[in-house]
């Protein structure tokens, strides 16, 4: 049973009060009586009635004055209907009643049934009002919670993205907060071998669900880049991870760009993002790069298509997610690929600024959608502006120890694993040479690749001099990797020497050998890019020797230790 309804009746005529009490009082209705306006206001404050019936003319304070006081004491969530009783059926009185915010009035003498009907409908209205008010409050509370969660999601998302982000002057990026919240991510890091990896991604879905996927993606990306894995391996690993993690309808449209200072090529692995543009500022030539792969997280494994382009300081790559293209102006027209292409064709110094500005102008006046992600990568593989960037390692090196470790890799194995990061990590684990990881990575990867490419697969690095040749080289490499047999043995040995440690790296392969003079020892006179790698290795090592017709190589790397 609900609490009894309380009705306040104020009338200076005793008979009238008695009559109303008799008529209204029941098990469900408690009647509170007042004999003038002052008492009515006092009882109103004390008893909190649900409805008031006020006589217009009363001594001390009339009904209209009392009603005004009562209404002004109510808070926004309270509503108490007021019915006036009057003997005067004139316009002026009725108008005064309305002005005092009367909900209804009834003229004496009145019909009890009419009054009861009015009271019932007003009480119903009161409950409706209060119910709605409560719902509104609840909705407001939900909205606040949602906004809070929105903020939390955006901040987590941003932290994930920025935590290990490598700021380098050749990469400019603009991600609006809304774009972040909509699941756009952008990650940049470099490998120990100075390859620069940039990953732009756009998760389906919004808010929390989108930021959940960002965390494992960033984890895999930064972890694998630091260990020196290739873009291909990183992307396929992220795909596998997301496939096992995300529900069927969610995926990550993404592109991984790898800038390789050794080959001076840029490798674009595009998986479901809108077209990218590669602009050569010198010639004005624009190359459109179209996605050739399914977005990440949909299938467990796929045949990843890579796209290679020569990279110089004049080459600028533009990446964006669909927000910028779909941005609408007041007329509902989208900025579209055409808006982007117009910006590329201007002679403006900064195409990046032009694009942001163009997009902003396009949308001015329309409701701010604020969902913009735009990336510019200057493919400067000559000056390598990111070479000396990144945090100095906090890692403490271990006193030089005596140890030896060897590994052997079969050609068949190389189809499945990337041995260089594995070898590098084992050295880091044992000796903690993180400070020298770039140099050691460079030495191991260069020597190992020579063993495989020249020694076992008989490839001629001359092929890599032209753009088509570069592609051909890798096709041939893939083909021979399947056809040929052989293995490479790698032996690492470490000894303490005066003031430090000496790491000796020996490799020998089962191939027929190769003209190492021709392939790798164009040290000084030759500046073409395939010769550079070995030249660098030579400068990093105490000594570097090839023997047995190029099937054996021994490199000695020394490092100082102060103890």
């Amino acid at each position: 049973m609900n609490q009894a309804v309380k009705i306040l009746v104020a009338d200076d005529t005793r008979l009238q009060r008695m009559f109303l009490q008799e008529m209204l009082a029941s098990e469900e209705v408690e009647v509170i009586l007042a004999c003038d306006g002052v008492e009515a206001v006092e009882l109103f404050m004390q008893k909190k009635p649900d409805l008031c019936i006020l006589d217009v003319i009363m001594p001390n304070l009339d009904g209209i004055g009392a009603a005004k006081k009562m209404i002004s004491s109510l808070s926004a969530d309270e509503y108490v209907p007021i019915v006036f009783i009057t003997a005067q059926d004139n316009e002026e009185t009725l108008e005064r009643c309305i002005e005092a915010k009367a909900d209804d009035f009834i003229v004496k003498p009145f019909n009890p049934t009419t009054l009861k009907a009015k009271i019932n409908s007003l009480l119903k209205f009161k409950r409706l009002y209060e119910g709605q008010f409560q719902q509104k409050q609840e909705l407001l509370a939900f909205q606040q919670i949602a906004e809070q969660e929105h903020d939390v999601a955006a901040s987590i998302h941003e932290k994930i993205i920025h935590a290990r982000f490598l700021e380098t002057p050749n990469v400019r990026h603009f991600l609006s907060p809304m774009a972040l919240f909509n699941g756009d991510i952008f990650l940049v890091a470099k490998t120990p071998g100075n390859q620069l990896h940039c990953l732009l991604g756009d998760f389906t879905g919004h808010g929390l669900s989108a930021s959940i996927g960002a965390s494992p993606t960033a984890e895999v990306f930064y972890g694998m880049v630091n260990k020196g894995f290739t873009g291909r391996e990183i992307l396929l690993e992220i795909n596998k991870k997301l496939h096992s993690l995300l529900p069927v309808h969610m995926f990550l449209a993404a592109t991984l760009v790898t800038l390789d200072p050794d080959s001076r090529f840029i490798n674009v692995m595009a998986c479901g993002l809108p077209d990218h543009y590669l602009l050569n500022k010198n010639s004005g030539k624009i190359e459109k790069i179209v996605s050739k792969n399914v977005p990440l997280g949909i299938v467990e494994d796929f045949d990843l298509q890579e796209q290679l382009f020569p990279a110089s300081a004049d080459d600028y790559l533009y990446l964006f997610t669909d927000g910028i293209i779909e941005a609408e102006n007041k007329q509902g027209e989208q900025f579209d690929f055409k808006g982007i292409e117009d910006c590329l064709n201007t002679s403006e110094e900064s195409v990046f600024d032009r694009m942001l500005q163009g997009q902003h102008q396009h949308c001015s006046g329309s409701e701010q959608q604020d969902d913009i992600t735009l990336i510019e990568i200057q493919c400067d593989s000559e000056n390598v502006p990111w070479r000396n960037l990144g945090e100095a390692s906090q890692y403490k090196e271990i006193t030089p120890l005596v140890w030896k470790s060897s590994m052997e890799f079969d050609l068949k194995t190389l189809q499945y694993v990337s041995p260089v990061p594995v070898m590098l990590n084992s050295i880091m684990e044992i000796q903690g040479l993180l400070k020298y990881s770039e140099s050691i990575f460079m030495i191991i990867s260069e020597l190992f690749n020579n063993c495989v490419d020249h020694g076992l697969l008989g490839l001629d690095s001359k092929l890599k001099e032209s753009a088509e040749g570069f592609g051909q080289y890798y096709k041939l490499r893939e083909k021979r990797l399947l056809e040929r047999e052989g293995s490479v043995k790698v032996i690492f040995s470490h000894l303490p020497v005066k003031n430090g440690g000496r790491l000796t790296i020996r490799m020998n392969d089962t191939g027929d050998g190769f003209d190492f003079q021709k392939q790798v020892s164009r040290f000084s006179e030759n500046q073409d890019f395939h010769g550079r790698g070995i030249q660098l290795v030579n400068s990093l090592c105490e000594s570097l020797e090839y023997s047995d017709n190029g099937t054996r190589v021994k490199a000695i790397f020394e490092w100082p230790y102060e103890g």
Partner: protein, 101 residues
């Protein structure tokens, strides 16, 4: 926006026609359609003749349909997409996951 769902050819073929914008707003109806897929349904035809826009949540819904029928490219056909919609399907390489005609 409307979704028209029909079972054809002795209930072995589920035909789904989406008019207007194919985005999150049709998600309820598409879920109902996906629930109709049982072992008797051998093929799903998605008719995009009257669809003028698809977004990434639509692509997600298509993936759910594909998953429900066993992930077989041959079993889900996307037909009659206009050039703009086709472009979006192409960017996502959905022709590798669905039969796009």
């Amino acid at each position: 926006m409307s979704v028209n769902v029909e079972l054809k050819n002795d209930t072995s073929e589920l035909s789904i026609k989406i008019s207007g914008r194919f985005d999150f707003s049709v998600h309820q109806e598409l879920r109902k359609a996906t629930d109709k897929i049982n072992s008797a349904v051998k093929r799903v035809i998605i008719d995009l003749r009257s669809t003028d826009y698809v977004d990434s949540s639509a692509l997600g819904m298509l993936l759910v349909l594909r998953d429900k029928i066993g992930g077989d490219k041959q079993k889900v056909r996307i037909v009659n997409a206009n050039s703009e919609v086709k472009k979006i399907l192409e960017i996502a390489s959905f022709d590798k996951l669905f039969t796009v005609a």
